[in-house]
């Protein structure tokens, strides 16, 4: 048996909603019925991945425009977690931050952290923006 969960949410392009989205990730980790790993660690990781991905969409892709929206999909099926964060902006260069930078760099850790936590990360163009898709096997 596997957990089957699907969450689809749209929030204004504002950092005040990071907490809401992060907590949804944390609560999903706590609610999984069939997860046998370290649940507290997974809860922090999902909170972090959602916070980082959404902050990137708000600040870099949608360049802080409060009139825009961020669309987030979270799904778990057959032991696989998929998170998609859609933006409607010009996008950003994901490859630039895939490797750890210098420890004293003030920026650029977010995408690196997503890469260390998730198994697959891709950033693709859509009809009206971009989507950051991240997958992780939970088994």
């Amino acid at each position: 048996m596997h957990d089957r969960i699907a969450v689809d949410i749209k929030v204004p392009n504002q950092t005040r909603y990071l907490c809401l989205i992060g907590h949804i990730g944390e609560n999903i980790a706590q609610a999984l019925k069939h997860y046998e790993g370290d649940r507290e660690k997974l809860a922090y990781e999902l909170n972090l991945v959602l916070t980082e991905a959404m902050a990137n969409a708000i600040l870099h892709a949608n360049v802080g425009d409060p009139a825009k929206e961020v669309h987030i999909e979270i799904s778990i099926s057959a032991g696989r977690l998929t998170i998609r964060v859609y933006d409607s902006g010009q996008g950003f260069d994901i490859c630039q931050f895939a490797q750890p930078g210098h420890p004293l760099d003030e920026h650029g850790r977010g995408i690196y952290l997503i890469h260390t936590i998730m198994d697959e990360v891709a950033y693709r163009q859509t009809t009206d923006g971009h989507v950051l898709e991240m997958n992780k096997n939970l088994n």
């Binding site: 950092t15 003030e106 850790r109």
Partner: protein
């Protein structure tokens, strides 16, 4: 941001009274540190006992403070990191950059 600031001997103690330090509020922490540096304070302790979650921008704000303090021949030290927050410092190798103490008293004593 809910931030308690008090002078304690040789250093200024900043107690972050928020569960999250993220892209929404880390700019305020950075701005408060800049204000203290401009007032001539060079030794800071940030207490994170009440913080359950830190993201990359929270780490970035503390790195900014660390660099600013170092450039003035002072230092920025941390105390009270919860387990998951500490693991963030390890994941990003920042535990090798910051002096991290179990509690405020030990962090403050290190300045005397």
């Amino acid at each position: 941001m809910n931030l308690q600031i008090e002078e304690r001997g040789q250093a200024v103690l900043l107690v972050v009274q928020e569960e999250r330090l993220d892209a929404h509020n880390s700019g305020e922490l950075k701005a408060q540190m800049v204000r203290l540096f401009e007032e001539g304070k060079i030794n800071l302790v940030i207490d994170l006992q009440g913080v359950k979650f830190v993201d990359s921008s929270g780490l970035g704000a503390m790195v900014s403070g660390f660099k600013n303090a170092s450039s003035r021949n002072g230092s920025l030290k941390l105390s009270g990191l919860q387990l998951q927050v500490k693991s963030m410092f390890e994941l990003t190798r920042l535990h090798r950059v910051f002096e991290i103490f179990p509690d405020v008293d030990e962090a403050l004593a290190s300045f005397t």
